[in-house]
């Protein structure tokens, strides 16, 4: 693989060149998917690494997001005497926006940077070239399993995040602030729509975010200059580019899915 960071004269042309190169890299990646099926074990290993190993941060953050959200909503809604709706509002906020977006941002910080740094160091220590020399395609063996693992892990992590956020909301709203348990659940189940909120909100968005974050992480790893400074910059670029891409894509998806 001869992927190289694109060169340009200024920030705009450099960014455009990066996006173009990333698009071409995506095509290479998609083309390598059939060849990567023989490395199923590697995909499963990466799924464990980017998915299962991210569970702790996702669960803890999900819990606190739900708790804070409920606390804020309860105080605002109590002004209008609408505290019974707070469970429903927590659920809608989490399913439609906070769940996929916060999970993706956490995923980029936890797994995306790790993937970039790992591939970058593999390049810096000639491991990628060594694979090429051993007639092993590094795109099929290194890049595609990590991309697929991110794609699979994100929706699952998002579901866990949402579940923990609802649990956190319940903990604060029902256990601490005294909202009726039946009202909390019945309002929520009455207002949450499987198609609009769960399929479009949780699954579709998190799938798109998973693809974008994994693509950026793998691309940055493969195109990083093989130096310690290069790897450091590449991991930073993964977080910055992923965060911008997630929020921009969130706006586009929300506009189309609403």
């Amino acid at each position: 693989m001869n992927a190289r960071a694109p060169q340009g004269n200024n920030v705009v042309t450099q960014s455009l060149a990066q996006i173009g190169a990333c698009g071409l890299f995506l095509l290479t990646l998609l083309g390598a998917i059939p060849r990567s099926f023989r490395y199923l074990r590697e995909t499963v290993r990466q799924l464990w690494f980017v998915g299962a190993m991210s569970l702790t941060i996702i669960m803890v953050c999900g819990l606190f997001v739900g708790m804070v959200l409920m606390l804020q909503l309860y105080h605002v809604l109590s002004i209008f005497g609408g505290t019974s709706a707070s469970g429903m509002v927590v659920a809608l906020s989490v399913y439609r926006e906070l769940g996929p977006v916060v999970t993706a941002l956490l995923f980029a910080g936890r797994a995306g940077t790790a993937v970039t740094a790992e591939i970058g160091l593999m390049r810096a220590t000639d491991q990628i070239d060594a694979m090429e020399m051993m007639a092993v395609d590094p795109i099929a063996y290194v890049a595609t399993p990590r991309f697929l693992a991110g794609l699979i892990a994100m929706p699952l992590l998002c579901c866990v995040f949402c579940a923990m956020a609802i649990f956190g909301g319940h903990l604060v709203g029902v256990t601490w602030l005294g909202i009726d348990n039946g009202t909390f659940w019945s309002n929520m189940t009455a207002q949450v729509d499987i198609h609009t909120d769960i399929v479009n909100g949780v699954l579709l968005k998190s799938l798109a975010f998973g693809a974008v974050v994994s693509l950026i992480a793998v691309f940055q790893g493969f195109t990083t200059p093989p130096t310690s400074e290069g790897v450091a910059y590449a991991t930073t670029r993964t977080v910055v580019a992923s965060s911008i891409a997630i929020l921009a894509l969130d706006f586009v998806l929300t506009a189309f899915l609403m």
Binding site: L121, M122, T125, D126, Q127, D129, A130, M131, E132, M133, M134, A135, V136, D137
Partner: protein, 278 residues
């Protein structure tokens, strides 16, 4: 396969390079370079830093394409091979990287087993035996379960060598195999290269600056400078050749045809003295 891809293999020459021209970032690395690497021998490629010795190895293995010229490996034009054909060709080529390039996720055993697992469907018991045989050959059978970060530089180089020979290749390319090794480790690697060449008849291409080591084992030495071959022959002949290039390189003279100073603007002008002198 087309006729252009497969030329008639020459029994005496394994790698034939003709008119190789490479320009990197505006700098000419090779300027119509012609070079032959004899089959079954240890050929050492020497030259000052930045002459493109590693680049030459990358051209031979098809990792990097030249701007002009051709490279025939065992009669096949490397530049005209498809990806699959190139990968097939590489299964018969071992490459020892400067920094060993062991896969850090795997232990020593798995590093050596990696090519076997990727390209064969051999039963586990056979893979185990093959790997242990290769590790025994480099003296590291006892280190099979160590991780790469637990190895010294010399041990890592030997593990990489075991991995490079796991398919019994016809050609091994050694990129600076002696760099950073203490005298004991250097001699161990030196002895291994010689033994592999003598017992298995492997063609070896050695990129190195260690003159004493090269003189000890190389059958043929090629001195590169300014993008061309400036001298070649057996180590003794080339050392006694007496040309300015060999005299400077083998004598370790600081200045000569290989300039001490990097090309720069006039010194006095750059210091601002040019006008004052007038």
């Amino acid at each position: 396969m087309t006729d252009t891809v497969r030329a008639t293999p020459d029994d005496a020459t394994l790698v034939r390079i003709r008119g190789l021209t490479t320009v990197l970032n505006g700098k000419t690395i090779f300027d119509a370079l012609d070079l032959d690497i004899p089959r079954g021998k240890i050929t050492s490629i020497m030259g000052p830093s930045g002459t493109g010795k590693t680049t030459l190895l990358k051209h031979i293995t098809g990792q990097m394409h030249a701007d002009a010229g051709s490279i025939h490996l065992d009669g096949r034009n490397v530049a005209e091979l498809s990806r699959e054909e190139l990968y097939k060709l590489r299964e018969g080529v071992g490459y020892l990287f400067q920094n060993s390039a062991l896969l850090t996720d795997f232990d020593v055993f798995e590093n050596v087993a990696f090519p076997l697992r990727q390209h064969t469907k051999l039963p586990e018991v056979l893979i185990r035996d093959l790997v242990l045989m290769k590790l025994q050959a480099v003296g590291l059978r006892g280190a099979a379960r160590l991780m790469p970060n637990e190895l010294s530089g010399g041990m890592a180089r030997r593990v990489a060598l075991a991995r490079a020979i796991v398919f019994d290749p016809q050609l091994i390319l050694y990129d600076e195999p002696f760099v950073g090794l203490d005298p004991v480790a250097l001699n161990q690697v030196l002895k291994l290269i010689q033994t592999l060449n003598q017992t298995l008849g492997i063609t070896s291409v050695l990129v190195s600056h260690e003159l004493a080591a090269v003189q000890q084992i190389a059958d043929h030495v090629i001195l590169l400078a300014k993008g061309k071959v400036v001298a070649q022959g057996d180590p003794k002949t080339i050392a006694d050749d007496g040309s300015p290039w060999t005299r400077q390189f083998f004598g370790g003279e600081a200045d000569g045809p290989i300039p001490f100073r990097y090309p720069a603007a006039d010194y006095a002008t750059e210091l601002g003295f040019a006008g004052a002198a007038k």
